[in-house]
Each structure stands twice: as C-alpha cells, then as structure tokens.
C-alpha cells in the first residue's frame, strides 16, 4: 500500500513521473550546517527505487545528518541549514512548503539510538497505526503481530505487550523501533545503524527483513559493519571527513567499493576494517 494521497500532495509542483532510469532519490551538492559549523559538504548521490544503499564511514562524518535531510528530520534541529538539491521522485525535498508529514510517512526513519515512547509496547505500535487511520482493533492487532514477528520480537514480548517499552533490553528496544517504522509500510526506509545494539541472531533477522522488504521498499542503511554492508547492500557510499567537513569520497556497487575501490581512502578503509 503506497500512501497515495500523500504522494499526490507531495507532487504539488507536478513533475514528470520518474521512470526506472530516473533515480528515486537524487542528491546534488547537498550541504548541512549546524549554526556556523558546516558538517556535510557537497554530497551527490543517486538512489534507485527498490535498491539497498549502505552509507559507511567513520564516526562524525555526517551520515546521520544526511539521513536527516531525506525525511526532513533536520527541521527539528534548531539552527540546522541544508542547501543543495535533493529530490524524491522528482519532488524537491528542500522546499520549505513541502508537506513534511506526508513525506515522513513515505520515508520512515529508524534512529541510531532506540527511542521507544515511554508507553506500553502495544501502545508504541498502536499509535502510528491509529494515526494512519486504522480505526478497527483487529487489523491493528494483526499488523502489530506481523511487524513484531518480522523483527523477531514477537516470541519475546507477546505475553507482555502491556508492559512499559522502557523496561526492554537495549536490543529489544531497537527492534521495537524497527517494527514501529515498518507498520506504516514506508516507501523508503532510512536505517541508522539498526543493528548496532543487536546480537548476531537478531542482526540476521533484521538483515533477512531488509532482504524481504526490498521489493516494495527502497532502503538506505547506515552501518559500521562492513560485512553487513556487503551482505545486504546493492550500492555503497563512503563518507569521509575532509578538512573537518564530511563528504562522499566514493560510491558505487558493493562489488566496486569492496573489490575495486578507486580511491585510496576507500581501499584502506575497507581493507583495514575487513581484516
């Protein structure tokens, strides 16, 4: 189910519907500053519909900030400024008049730090569903079970859905947040280190999930686990700090990046890390 009216609204300045050759997301010279500090400079990246793109790179080089631009979470950070060109299916993502709510329904985000609401597990999942207009109880319960199963959490929590989400272990919270983002069936899913708090088994569950989502969902995943990037991604982009400003030094298919890197930085990074 693609949220049709949301798409309709987003398209306000009507543009040519992107064909398969046109990338779903298109970034050109995107820069991000917090106050006077520029942290991301001149990022250009194309993301095709239905692909999985891994963003890798050292800590603090602007990966999270870039994801934040894609669903306009940056709006919530005071003094944060984004420039450049950023389009989703042709629509200008940096347009100040854009309907950000519709955008965020299409573009889900899973945060680096799990952030469940301080309510019960069930209520955490019920809320977005009700917000999306699912009024009846049964379809909500069904969706909740489906998504919890998808992240491998159902068996662990099905008997305590009414307990506080805050009492879950770190990994459980993370998976709860993934499940929550899946509920709305987003068109694009941004995942900021979704497996960082997960053990290998849960991590594998999430990776399998990513695989199964691919058909109906475009995924951008930030990961520090290069092996994981190789396993799940089609394309890969390496962010790097240059003079204190993050940018993309190389991008390409996973094969290219890991086996035939053009830049020395990339070569060193994937080598050093894989070793």
């Amino acid at each position: 189910m693609t949220n049709l009216h949301a798409v309709a609204e987003l398209h306000r300045p009507p543009v040519d519907e992107p064909g398969p050759a046109v990338p779903l997301i298109r970034a050109r010279g995107v820069s991000v500053s917090y106050g006077a500090r520029r942290v991301l400079g001149d990022v250009s990246l194309d993301i095709a519909r239905g692909s999985v793109t891994a963003l890798i790179g050292p800590s603090g080089c602007g990966k999270t900030s870039f994801l934040g631009c894609l669903n306009r979470m940056v709006d919530l950070i005071p003094r944060c400024r984004v420039t450049g060109e950023l389009r989703l299916a042709g629509a200008d993502l940096l347009d100040p008049t854009l309907d950000v709510v519709a955008l965020r329904r299409r573009v889900g985000l899973i945060f680096q730090r799990p952030n469940p609401f301080p309510f019960s597990i069930r209520h955490n999942l019920d809320l977005p569903l009700r917000e999306a207009g699912v009024r009846r109880k049964e379809p909500r319960a069904a969706a909740i079970e489906r998504c919890l199963r998808a992240v491998g959490l159902w068996d662990e929590v099905h008997d305590r859905l009414d307990h506080a989400a805050g009492a879950l272990s770190g990994g459980q919270q993370q998976r709860l947040c993934i499940a929550r983002a899946l509920l709305l069936d987003p068109e694009v899913l941004l995942m900021d280190e979704p497996c960082s708090a997960l053990d290998p088994i849960s991590g594998a569950t999430v990776e399998a999930l990513i695989g199964s989502l691919k058909e109906r969902c475009t995924i951008v995943i930030v990961t520090h686990n290069l092996a994981q990037a190789r396993r799940v991604a089609d394309r890969c982009a390496l962010f790097w700090l240059r003079d204190g400003i993050g940018t993309i030094v190389e991008q390409g298919t996973v094969g290219q990046i890991f086996h035939a890197p053009k830049s020395e930085i990339t070569a060193a990074y994937v080598r050093g890390a894989v070793a």
Partner: protein
C-alpha cells in the same frame, strides 16, 4: 533496594540535612493545622462538629453554623475553574513547545508568569467592575458562581501552564523526533505522545492549581456574591469557605471567630479529599525513561 543510610560522613550529613528539610516542610502543615484546630476548638465543642454539616443556614451569632452550602460552593467554583484552566493551561504549554514560533513562545511564557503574580485584589476588582456587570445585564445579580469560575480560571491558568510547560520542556527531544519520523501530525505528537509522556508533571500542575483554587480568597470574595446558599444555576451567587473567613474575620469574636477557623479546617479536609480522589484517578507517574 536503595540503601538510604550511607557510611560516608559527607553523604550522611547531606541525607540528614535533606531529612531535616523534609521534616521542616511537613511540620509546617502540622503547625498550620494545629493552630487552626486550637482556634476552632471552642466552636467545635460548643456546637458539636455535626452542627457544621447539618445546621441550616450560617448565622454564627445566632448559633447556626451550617457550612454545607459553602462547602458545595467551594467545590463548584474550584472544579469549575480547574475544568476551564486545566485544559487551557495544558494547551498553553503545548502551544509554547510545539506550535508557537520561539519569540512568541518566549513572550507568552513571560506573560503567563506575570499573570501568576497579579494580586488577587486586582483580579477581583477587574471581575467586579467589568465581568460582573456584563453577567448582571444578562442574568442578575451578576455576582455568581459563573463569575467566580471565570475569574478563578484566569487566576490559576498560569500555574497550570507554567508547571506543565516545564514538564513538557523536560521531555527528551527524541520523543518528538520519534513521533515526527513516524509521520505523525503535529497535534498527534503533541496530544498523544508528549502530553501522555508528561502526565506526571501535568498532574502536579493540576494539583497545585487546585490548591490555589480552593484557597483563593479576595478575588472570589469580590465576584461570587457571597450568599450562603445552594446554587441552583451558574448565575446564582455562592460563598466559598475561604471568602467566608476573610469576609467575617474582621469583626468576628469568640464563637463566631472560632467557627470561622472551622471553615479553615473544613477547607483542609476538602483539599485532603481532593488529593485522595486525585491519587485514585491518577496514580503516581514513574520516572521518565530516556
């Protein structure tokens, strides 16, 4: 479980100090209630406690001590005021945090804080000179339960709003971001995520405001009409317990004076009853998880 005592002298001293603070704070109420009780004793022993509930009419000089209409009046005015100011205060807090541009929010906060410190006599004068005549033109005598509720609502609104605002401001921003990332609309985030997450702070705001409402004297004295009767509509005058004390204390002597202290004691009981209800309705919130 948390061990309260500690072996470290500095810490022990600190905890002792805190204990003393707590003891002093709770002693205050013991002292206030104690003084009130001592002063109320003559009337209670002469008339008997039940007289204050069952007597018909309040004519202490003629030995009639019925407080029931005033108890009802106090409850109605306070609950009415709270019913208006509670939601408005919470909405004000939401407004400051999620709707208003920063400058507007700052100005509005400042305004609320000023509102909280205007003497009640000024509210009373305003109500008496502007609000009561308006109501009187419509449904005489004007000085009424309704006037009391409106003036009281305006007076306690800042208490609710300021305390609720600081409770909401304290929530982790991850909460708001989490909601936004799920494509929730602003009002859903505000009223279904933020407000419930701040519920313990909001409960505090309401309790404080209720206390202020029950104890409010001068403003109500000027606008409620102070008639000792059971109101049959919003436009009927009522007298509150606090107004009763202020109205008559100046000329009261002996049993009359003592009976006024019974009003104070009854008010304390009323607050206690309200707290019991509040505790049953809204059990203590827990600490926020971050």
């Amino acid at each position: 479980m948390t061990s309260i005592s500690s072996r470290r002298p500095a810490e022990r001293l600190f905890v002792t100090g805190l204990g003393l603070c707590g003891a002093a704070a709770s002693l205050t109420i013991v002292a206030v209630i104690g003084v009130t009780t001592v002063e109320a004793t003559p009337a209670l022993s002469v008339a008997g406690p039940q007289a204050f509930l069952t007597d018909d009419g309040w004519f202490p000089l003629s030995g009639r001590f019925g407080l029931m209409p005033m108890i009802l009046g106090t409850v109605l005015v306070s609950l009415g005021g709270l019913a208006l100011a509670g939601p408005m205060g919470i909405v004000s807090a939401v407004f400051c945090n999620h709707y208003a541009p920063a400058a507007v929010a700052t100005a509005y906060r400042l305004l609320l804080k000023a509102l909280a410190g205007i003497p009640s006599v000024v509210y009373g004068l305003w109500g008496l000179v502007t609000l009561v005549p308006l109501i009187a033109a419509w449904a005489p005598p004007g000085a009424s339960l309704l006037a009391g509720i409106l003036v009281l609502a305006l007076m306690i609104l800042p208490t609710v709003a300021v305390v609720a605002d600081s409770a909401i401001q304290q929530l982790p921003p991850a909460l708001h971001r989490g909601g936004a990332a799920l494509g929730m609309r602003r009002h859903t985030i505000a009223f279904r995520v933020v407000v419930p997450a701040a519920r313990s702070g909001l409960a505090t705001a309401l309790v404080l405001a209720l206390g202020r409402a029950l104890g409010e004297t001068m403003a109500l004295l000027m606008v409620t009409g102070n008639l000792v009767q059971y109101p049959s509509s919003l436009f009927d005058p009522v007298r509150t317990l606090a107004a009763n004390i202020a109205l008559e204390m100046a000329y009261a002597q002996d049993i009359h004076r003592s009976a006024l202290f019974v009003s104070g004691l009854v008010l304390a009981l009323l607050v206690a009853a309200a707290l019991v209800v509040a505790e049953v309705l809204a059990p203590d919130g827990t600490r926020h998880v971050d």
